[in-house]
Amino acid sequence: MNPPLLAVEGLGLSLRTRHGPVAVLRDVALRLDAGETLGLVGESGSGKTMAALAIIGLLPQPGGVITAGSIRLRGEELVGAGAARLRQVRGGEIGMIFQEPMTALNPLFSVGEQVAETLRAHEGLGRRAARARAEEMLRLVGVPGRARDYPHQLSGGMRQRAMIAMALACRPSILIADEPTTALDVTVQAQILDLLRDIQRRFGAAILLITHDMGVIREMADRVAVMYAGRIVEEGGAAAVLNRPAHPYSRALIACIPQPGAAGGERQLLAEIPGLVPPPGRWPEGCAFMPRCVAATARCRTAPPDIAAGPGHSAACWLGAAGAAI
């Protein structure tokens, strides 16, 4: 059997701080198959961006250290791989899209030059060939004839398209999109999500979509992983997780969002999750969600087991299937 496109297992990551090393990822496992979209959701500080950076070998320096686990790309171990190989992977086999295109694009070069630069670095194309491919990529993502424009001359949506062109230039098999539409207006966000779907259909790239927006997940993802305090607490098919969340945290997170499109009626208070996400370094032993969990019991002080909540759907919780009744 072929190894999965991307397999992350038991990944631990710690950062050096004034108070010594602090774990920010603990025992993270993710699998991404060709052509699928995996949504990674969680609040700020849950570790979703750190997980993405670890996958592409961009650990915060100094002090970011992978303490455990493996990251395999088509079976090839990336943990401990050389800097040159990781550079090949980034932008070559794995493309990246960030939240704020204005900070990710270089303001001093035209967008065409920046896309061409990626191609020259990774595919060794000559100046003219790279230029032509860059223009073609920009046309493909809906920014035709703007290759000579600088980032500031483009609107937010256009810049995000230019960044997608850059990420796609080398036809990666994986696209990591970290909050790709969070900074955009809703009508422009819809265009960008359509573009990502279209690109996936055309190129067959797998997408790791990091977002805090459950609506985006509902619209885009095949599978979802929910992160809390550096751990994956639930994973499963998108519809199963969104409609029948098994972990108390996922349930609470989904319940506290005002639902657009819901029928009118009297205004009611939203469900609340009391308290705050604890910062790294102050994660409780056992289940990190325990202090905020309505269903916590004494056994939650020891690390919870992964329980099956359905086919391909698991949650790390002591409550087991009985928890679904809460």
Binding site: V186, M214, Q259, G261, A263, L270
Partner: protein, 346 residues
């Protein structure tokens, strides 16, 4: 509840002149708010929703008199605020206050939380100093902060707690109206729910009216009684929440609701997509501002600006293509006026 509006905005315009690149260049003006009128009832929440550049925040700032209106009237209980001097405005300030989007930059980092909440009481000389101290303790409890937290500085609080401080400061003078400019946009989803619930509880307790500015349709639908949709400096549709979400009439509102991720899928509708970005508010188009992106635009839409008109009781829309029977151009199946659902007509 009285029938008299608490706040009446009439034909508000806020224009910002741009610096000319050279002395002979033509004068250019950003028409951020270009003729906006609405009325707000006491104790209710009036939402303004729109995308970047629609003029919603500038409208809020103009109501607060934090930017100077170019033209128009802003009447609070019948008193026009626009011609008033800063000195004449000060005694009225206690009646309308504001909550800002960014709880990190809107609080003075050198003041303690207690001093921040106390400041408006001191400035407007509300009560005796002793009464003010009691009032601050009361306010901290009302927004869910502990009394000893009065002595802490803003950086010692989380984003959600800072927003609570901003809310305590805003309600300190017992205002009738609070302008909320994207009050939860900078917060994480779980914290958002806490702050929205706090705003709802305070409204019930104190009878506050909120002018609620947001780009998030889920939040607007959850919070607002009446909603105005803005596009390019103008209101394109204005009605109550049920009508707007059940049956948007302006093609822009229709596309906006459809663009919310997951919403179209949840309602079992096909998605609608708008091409391009909104045009610039510098030299806005002569006709309808939305014509360049509207799938139903006809030549008239590009030349003649549609006025906001009422097409049903309490439902106002600025679109040439909404017909006499009150059907939006996107409503393919003809629907006789008599068959309009009862909830929509009210």
């Amino acid at each position: 509840m009285s029938d008299r509006p608490l706040l009446q905005v009439r034909d508000l315009k806020v224009h910002f002149p741009l610096r000319r690149p050279h002395p002979l260049a033509p004068a250019r003006v950003v028409r951020a708010v270009n003729g906006v009128s609405f009325a707000m009832m006491p104790g209710r929440t009036f939402g303004i929703v729109g995308e970047s550049g629609s003029g919603k925040t500038t409208t809020a700032l103009a109501v607060m008199r934090l930017v100077a209106p170019t033209a128009g009237h802003i009447e609070l209980d019948g008193v026009d605020l626009v011609p008033l001097s800063a000195a004449a405005l000060r005694p009225l300030r206690r009646r309308f206050q504001m909550i800002f989007q960014d709880p990190f930059s809107s609080l003075n980092p050198r003041m303690t939380a207690g001093a921040i909440v106390r400041e408006p009481l001191d400035l407007m000389a509300v009560g005796t100093p002793g009464e003010r101290s009691r009032r601050i303790a009361e306010l901290f409890a009302a927004v869910g902060l502990r009394p000893e937290q009065q002595r802490l500085f803003p950086h010692q609080f989380s984003g959600g707690q800072r927003q609570r401080i901003g809310i305590a400061r805003a309600i300190a003078t017992r205002p009738d109206l609070i302008v909320c400019d994207e009050p939860v946009s900078a917060l994480d989803v779980a914290i958002r729910a806490q702050i929205l619930n706090l705003l709802l509880r305070l409204q019930r307790e104190y009878g506050l009216a909120y002018l609620f500015i947001s780009h998030d349709l889920g939040v607007v639908q959850h919070m607002c009684d009446d909603i105005a949709v803005m596009y390019l400096g103008r209101i394109v549709e204005l009605t109550d929440r049920a009508a707007l979400f059940r049956r948007p009439l302006h093609p822009y509102t229709w596309a906006l609701l459809s663009a919310v991720p997951g919403a179209a899928a949840a309602r079992g509708e096909a998605r609608v997509r708008l091409a391009g970005d909104p045009p610039s508010a510098i030299d806005p188009p002569a006709g309808c501002g939305f014509a360049s992106r509207c799938p139903f635009a006809e030549p008239r839409c590009r030349s003649e600006r549609p006025e906001l008109r009422d097409v049903a009781a309490g439902h106002w829309v600025a679109c040439h293509r909404v017909d006499r029977a009150g059907r939006g151009p996107h409503e393919a199946t003809p629907q006789p006026a008599a068959a309009v659902p009862p909830a929509w007509s009210g």
